[in-house]
Point group: D2
Amino acid sequence: MATPALTLSSLNALPASTFVEALGEVFEHAPWVAEAVAPGRPYPTVTSLHDAMLQAVRQAPPERQMAFIGGHPELGSRVRRDDLTRDSQAEQGGLGLDRLSAGEFERFTRLNAAYRAKFGFPFIVCVRRHTRDSILRQFERRLGHDLDAERAAALHEIGLITRLRLVALADGPGLPVTTGRLSTHILDTVTGRPAPGVRIALHEIGLSARALLKETVSNADGRTDAPLISGAPLRIGTYELTFHMGDYFGGAGFLDIVPIRFSIAEPEGHMHVPLLVTPWSYTTYRGS
Amino acid sequence: MATPALTLSSLNALPASTFVEALGEVFEHAPWVAEAVAPGRPYPTVTSLHDAMLQAVRQAPPERQMAFIGGHPELGSRVRRDDLTRDSQAEQGGLGLDRLSAGEFERFTRLNAAYRAKFGFPFIVCVRRHTRDSILRQFERRLGHDLDAERAAALHEIGLITRLRLVALADGPGLPVTTGRLSTHILDTVTGRPAPGVRIALHEIGLSARALLKETVSNADGRTDAPLISGAPLRIGTYELTFHMGDYFGGAGFLDIVPIRFSIAEPEGHMHVPLLVTPWSYTTYRGS
Amino acid sequence: MATPALTLSSLNALPASTFVEALGEVFEHAPWVAEAVAPGRPYPTVTSLHDAMLQAVRQAPPERQMAFIGGHPELGSRVRRDDLTRDSQAEQGGLGLDRLSAGEFERFTRLNAAYRAKFGFPFIVCVRRHTRDSILRQFERRLGHDLDAERAAALHEIGLITRLRLVALADGPGLPVTTGRLSTHILDTVTGRPAPGVRIALHEIGLSARALLKETVSNADGRTDAPLISGAPLRIGTYELTFHMGDYFGGAGFLDIVPIRFSIAEPEGHMHVPLLVTPWSYTTYRGS
Amino acid sequence: MATPALTLSSLNALPASTFVEALGEVFEHAPWVAEAVAPGRPYPTVTSLHDAMLQAVRQAPPERQMAFIGGHPELGSRVRRDDLTRDSQAEQGGLGLDRLSAGEFERFTRLNAAYRAKFGFPFIVCVRRHTRDSILRQFERRLGHDLDAERAAALHEIGLITRLRLVALADGPGLPVTTGRLSTHILDTVTGRPAPGVRIALHEIGLSARALLKETVSNADGRTDAPLISGAPLRIGTYELTFHMGDYFGGAGFLDIVPIRFSIAEPEGHMHVPLLVTPWSYTTYRGS
C-alpha cells in the first residue's frame, strides 16, 4: 500500500473548502458528505471521521441518499471510463472486472439488470474484499433481499469501500483495520525442525479457473520471508497452497506436492495455515 | 471367558425342574423367575429367553419384585460369604470389592446406609461393567433419584447382570453382546510403516491409585497379538496407555514414554486408540 | 477381473499340445515357452508354473531369447492391430496408449527410436502397472542402462506381464499376488465417529491432464462400500482424492473440498489413505 | 532473575582490586582468574570477558588448574555450609541437593567416592541446567571417561557454571544466552479457535517422584500469560504437561486429562509444546 498523502491533523486544520476537495471523492460523486462533516472537525481519530461521514449519509434526506446510492457505477459493466471515479476504476480493475470474459460479462449483465429492476439502484459491493466467485455468490444472495434489507446492505458495503479509500488517503491515529494477513509455517516432524527451502505456491481457486497469486520458498524458520498476503484485505474466496514436499524429502514417501485448499471469509483477519509433515503424513489446521 | 456348559437347545429340551435348577441362580435367590419362563419354551435365541425372564420380573406382584430386589447383596460389604450366590462373589471379587481399604470400606458403608435408608433396598449395579471409581460416581448420582426412577435403575442393572450370567451359562444363537474390545495400533510416520517391538502398558487410573492391567509389545503390524481387553465388558473408567517410543526411536527426539489417557463409557463397545508418531510429534484419536 | 476359464489342475491334466495351445499366448509370440514346461507337469501352484516358464526363457539360447524379446510390440505405436496379441491390445488400450495425442505420440516415437537404436529391441514394460507418466519416466531412466542391465529389466517386465496374463487364464492354488487395493476412511473428530455421506472423488494426476477415476460416497463406517481401486494392479503414478467436507459440515469452517495428493509406487500393495477431519483441521497418512 | 548489580562498563572502569573483588567468586575459590583478566580490560562484551576468564583457567599451570578443579564442593554432600561459596549453596539448594533422601544421599555418596577415587577431584556439573535424574545419568556416564576426557568435561561444566554466575552479576552488551523458555498453546479444532480457560499443570517426572512445577490456566489466546518456564535454564530432564480438556469440553468425548510427556535436552533452547485438540483426538509436536 502506498503511503497516504495526508494526515488527520492536516485534514483537521484545512480550510473547509480544501478539506472537501481532499475528501470529496471518498464517497462516490458526493462531495456533500465531506461538506456535512467539515464543521465537526477536529476529529480525534480517522475512525471517528469516517463514522461521521457514514452518519451524514444515513441522516441525509431519502431522495439525496437514494441519489447517492444510485450514483455508483454498475459492477463489471463496460461503461465509459469517464463515468467512474478513479477509485472505482482501480477497485474494479484490481479484480479483473474490466476484463471479463464474454460468459462472465453476460452473467454480470443479467444480474445487474435483475438487480436494478428489483431495487432501482446498482449493486454495490466492496470489491477489494472479494474474488469474482464471492461477488457472484453475494450478488445472487442479495437479489433475494427486500428493499429495506438491501438498502442497508448497500450502505454497509459503502462503509467498507469508503473506509478503504479514507485509509489510503489519510494517515493518523485510530486507523480502522482494513487489511488482513495470510501466512504459513512448515514443520518437518521427522527432524522436529522447521523445513527450509520448500517451494510454496498460492493459487486462487475460482469456479472456472485457477490463478497463481504467489510463488515463494520457505526460509530457515520454515516460514516465508514476507506473509503470503498482507497490506490489503484478504479477498473472500477459495485458495490453495501447494507445498513441494517431495523435493524437500528427496523423493521418498508417498507425498510429492501437498495441496491445502481453504476458504477465507474474514478479509481483515489473520489466517495462518501451518503444515506438520513427514514423507508419509501431514496435519494442517487454521492457526492463529 | 470359559465356554458355557449348556446350549440353548438343551435348555429348551430339559424337563422344567432341571431347567429351573440350571438357571435358578441367574436371578439372585429367585428360582421363580426360571419357573415362570419354563412353560414358554422353546426360545429361539438366548436373547429372547433373557427378555422373557426380565419380563417375568417386571410383571411380578410388587411385593415379590421388591423382595427380589431386596435379596441382592450389599455392595462392598464384608458379608459372610454364604449369603452371596457364587456369581455375586465372583463379580464383586473381580473388582476387589472384597478387599477394600479401610477408607473405601467406610465410604461404601456410608453410601450403602444412606441408600438403604432412602430406598429400603440395597444398591444394585452390574459391577463387571465398572471400575471402583465409576461405581462410586454412579452410587452418588443414583442417591439423588426418586423411588420410581431408582427402582427402574435397579431393574436395568439386574438386566445387565443377568445377561452376563446367562451368556456365561448358555451357548446358542442370538447371544446378546456382553463384551467389549480395546485395541491399539502404532504407525511410525517417519517410515510410513507400522511400528513393531514397541513396549505398551495399559493402566487403570483410579482416584487414588493406578493399576497395571496389561503389558505387551507391538507386533509386525504395529498392533498387539491379542486385543488389550476383550472377552469381557470394558469397565467404565479412566485408562492410560503408555508407549515406549524412546526405545523404539533409539533415544532421539523429545518423546520417550508417550502416555494416552482416555475414558471408556461403553462397556460393550469397541475402543480403538491408534498412535501416529515420530520422535517429535504424535496424533491419537478414538478410532473404530 | 473376469473369472479365469481354466484351473491349474486341468492344465496339469491336459495333453501337451492342448496345454501349449492354452498358454501359448502368455509369452508373446512364443509358444515354445509353454512347450518347454509341459513335460515338467504337474505343477503344485500357479506360481511354480510361472517360475518354470520364466526359467525356460532365461535358459533359452541367446538368439532365441533375443528373438523373443524383439518380438514384443512397440509401445504406443499405431501399429496395425493384427501385429499385437489380444493381450497386448487390451493392455495398451487400458492405458489409452492407442489414443495418444499428437504430442505424446511424438514423444513415444522419439523414445522408441532412441531405445531401439541403442538396444536393438523394443521397450517392454508391464503397462497395466503404470500410468502414462510413470511409463515415460521409466522409459527415460532405462535409456541410461547398459545392454546387460536393460536385458535384465526387459525380462523382469516380461515376468510381470506374463504373471498377470497367467493369473487371468488359470485359477488354482498358489496364485501370485497381482492386484493392489486403494481404500480410504473418514473420521469426524468433532463427534469421534466415522463420517457418512461424504462425496469422494479419485483422480489420476498426469503431467498434462487430470482424469476422474471414480466418484463415490462414504458409508456409515466412513468408508466406501467397495475399495476405490481393487482387483487390478495400482498403476504407478500420482493420484488425488477429494473429500467434499464443506457439504458434510454444513458450510462451517475453513475447509470445503479437501484434496489429498499422493503417489503410488507399489502396484501390488495396499494403500490406505485415511482422513481425520474437523471443519478447521485435518490429518492424513499412508495407513495400512 | 534479579537484575544484575553491575554493568560491563563499570566493570571495565573499576580499579583492578575492586574488579577482582567484584568477580572473585565467579570462579570457585579462585580470585586469581579475575586477577589474570583485569589487565585485558576493557572487554567489549560480557561474552568476551567470560571467554578471557575461561582462557586464563585453561592456560594456568597444571597444578594450579587441578587445585582449582579440586576446590569445587562435592555434589549432594551434607558438607558444612561454610565450605561452599554462596553461589554453590544456591545452585545445589535449587535442585534440592541439600535435602536428599537417605537413598539418594547414599547413591550420590557412592558415586562421589567412586569418582574421586578414579579422578582425584570432585564431580563438577552445572546443576542449574539439570534435574536430579539427569545429574545421576551424567554422573554415571562420566565415570566411564578417561582422565583427559573428564578434565575437559569438568572445565566445560565450569564454563557453564561461571557463565550463569557472570550473567547474574553483570549486565551489558553481548550477554551469553543462559536461559530457556517452555511454552504451550491450545487450539480447539472443533471451533478453529484458541482454547481459553483450560487448566494446565507442569510436572517434573523423576525416576522415583513427580514434582509439580506450575499450575496455570490458558488465556484468550490459548496460551499462558507467562511462559511455563523462562528466565532460567530449562533443566535437562523429563516433564509432563497435563491439560484438563474434559472440563473445557463439558465432559463429552473420550478425553479428560490429556498428559504430554517430553524430554528437555537443551537448557538454553525454546521448547514449544502445542496441543491441537477435539473431545476425541489430539496432536502434539515439538514446536518452535
